[in-house]
């Protein structure tokens, strides 16, 4: 079975969003999660630029350059939304009022350390944005990322090699081949893509894995990526 594509990964994360949650979705893959939250759920999507209740993307003729999310996407407001300033938005984040933030990452360590920002691009300045605040203070940090780097190296490690975003913060990791949680003892696998053995998964992971007693297949619907 093929590894999940990014929409299937978003679908899988979406299954774990609960009604009434306040969520913050990072740039890139995570923003796609909102497409897979049941329509009748009252999920509040917080964007760190101050939108409390981000709705779907705006249609071309309804787009308003002042109604953007933190990723500069032109969005709409959901019913019940409001907008606050950045100081209030980060007070909300830092104060622990976000139930879950879903972030992309380069590396996650088995103690929950997260590395998802980089200041090592040659000649380019660092970019951190709001990730450190979100990672440090959301009630739960869920990471969505490919299980391995393009060169095949592990992203799940005993200790991060890249600059940290926050320490001991990650609770769950959703990859293209597995769903794991970060426990006091390290990574615990809950779901594995059919066709990948526990041995193979361990081989592709840079830290020891434990397997949940109810560890099961990672199954998603077929969701095609849009044409490039």
């Amino acid at each position: 079975m093929k590894p999940l594509n990014r929409l299937q990964m978003a679908w899988r994360v979406g299954q774990d969003i609960e009604d009434g949650m306040v969520v913050n979705l990072g740039l890139g893959m995570p923003v796609g999660v909102s497409d897979y939250v049941p329509q009748d759920f009252d999920v509040v999507v917080q964007s760190e630029n101050g939108i409390i209740g981000v709705g779907p993307l705006a249609s071309a003729n309804a787009a308003d350059s002042d109604l953007v999310d933190a990723g500069s996407r032109k969005v709409t407001l959901r019913a019940g939304a409001t907008i606050i300033d950045s100081a209030a938005s980060f007070a909300m984040i830092r104060g622990g009022h976000i139930d879950v933030t879903i972030l992309g990452a380069f590396e996650v360590a088995s103690n929950g350390d997260l590395a998802n920002w980089d200041n090592r691009i040659p000649d380019k300045g660092p970019l951190v944005g709001g990730a450190m605040d979100l990672a440090a203070s959301a009630q739960a940090v869920w990471v969505m990322m490919e299980h391995n780097t393009r060169k095949g190296g592990p992203r799940l490690l005993e200790a991060c090699t890249l600059p940290l975003t926050a320490v001991r913060c990650v609770k769950r990791v959703y990859t293209d081949i597995a769903v794991l949680s970060v426990m006091p003892q390290g990574f615990l696998v809950h779901e594995i893509l059919p066709g990948i053995s526990r041995v193979e998964l361990q081989r592709r992971t840079g830290a020891p894995l434990a397997f949940a007693p109810d560890c099961k297949d990672l199954i998603t619907p077929d969701i095609a990526l849009p044409e490039a």
Binding site: S86, G125, G129, G130, D133
Partner: protein
């Protein structure tokens, strides 16, 4: 004797911002840039500025023009590069050559430090960045079993912010996510200039005001 905070031109609105000033610029994610005021600041041409701006490079702001003109000594921001992989920005060229000073802060620390300056708080502890490179050299303290970093306030000499409507008291409304850093920057700076879409001849109703005119010194009506 009525208060009159309007200035007829953007040039008059930014007049007096001098060499060495710390200038705060609102705007994030494409919304809330006071670009006409920034253009007027470029014309005014003060040197050795410290810019307090979320992004040193956002393509919808003209912050980079101030940097390219050699007016900027230091940038305090949360994003020193854009998300795209295009050619180096003016900031990045100078940064690579070691000709511009950079202080990168987590965005929440960036704005809380601005808010703190406006609220009379010189320093505060935050959990953000503990254990990371951005906390290097900063004081750390444990409260109730959790580790925190001491961060200092960031006061400004001037703030150039974008808003929607102003009245003659300087009260402002903001349109959607245009608000972002504007209110905090206005509280933190000595001279606060707001570029607005429209001016209201009647007072903005009390419950619609989003930033009190107490914080706003000058208004420039720039249109949409």
């Amino acid at each position: 004797m009525a208060i009159e905070k309007r200035r007829a031109t953007a040039a008059e609105a930014v007049a007096g911002i001098g060499d060495g000033a710390t200038v705060m610029l609102s705007g994030f994610a494409g919304a809330g840039f006071a670009n006409q005021l920034v253009a007027a600041l470029l014309d005014l041409g003060p040197r050795n500025l410290t810019l307090v701006v979320n992004s040193a490079t956002h393509r919808l702001s003209n912050t980079h023009e101030l940097i390219a003109a050699g007016m900027v000594r230091k940038v305090i921001c949360s994003a020193a590069r854009g998300h795209d992989k295009s050619a180096l920005s003016a900031f990045e060229v100078l940064y690579k050559e070691g000709k511009i000073e950079l202080e990168v802060l987590p965005q929440g620390t960036f704005v809380e430090s601005i808010r703190a300056a406006g609220a009379g708080i010189p320093a505060y502890f935050t959990p953000t960045a503990f254990g990371t490179d951005l906390a290097a050299g900063k004081e750390v303290r444990n409260f109730d079993g959790r580790d925190y970093v001491l961060e200092k306030s960031i006061p400004g000499d001037a703030a150039l912010i974008r808003a929607d409507v102003a009245d003659r008291w300087g009260n402002l409304t903001f349109h959607h996510a245009q608000m972002n850093f504007g209110p905090a920057m206005a509280t933190a700076s000595k001279l606060v200039v707001a570029e607005v879409r429209a001016f209201s001849d009647t007072p903005i109703p009390p419950e619609q005001v989003m930033l009190s005119g107490v914080f706003v010194d000058r208004i420039f009506v720039a249109g949409a």
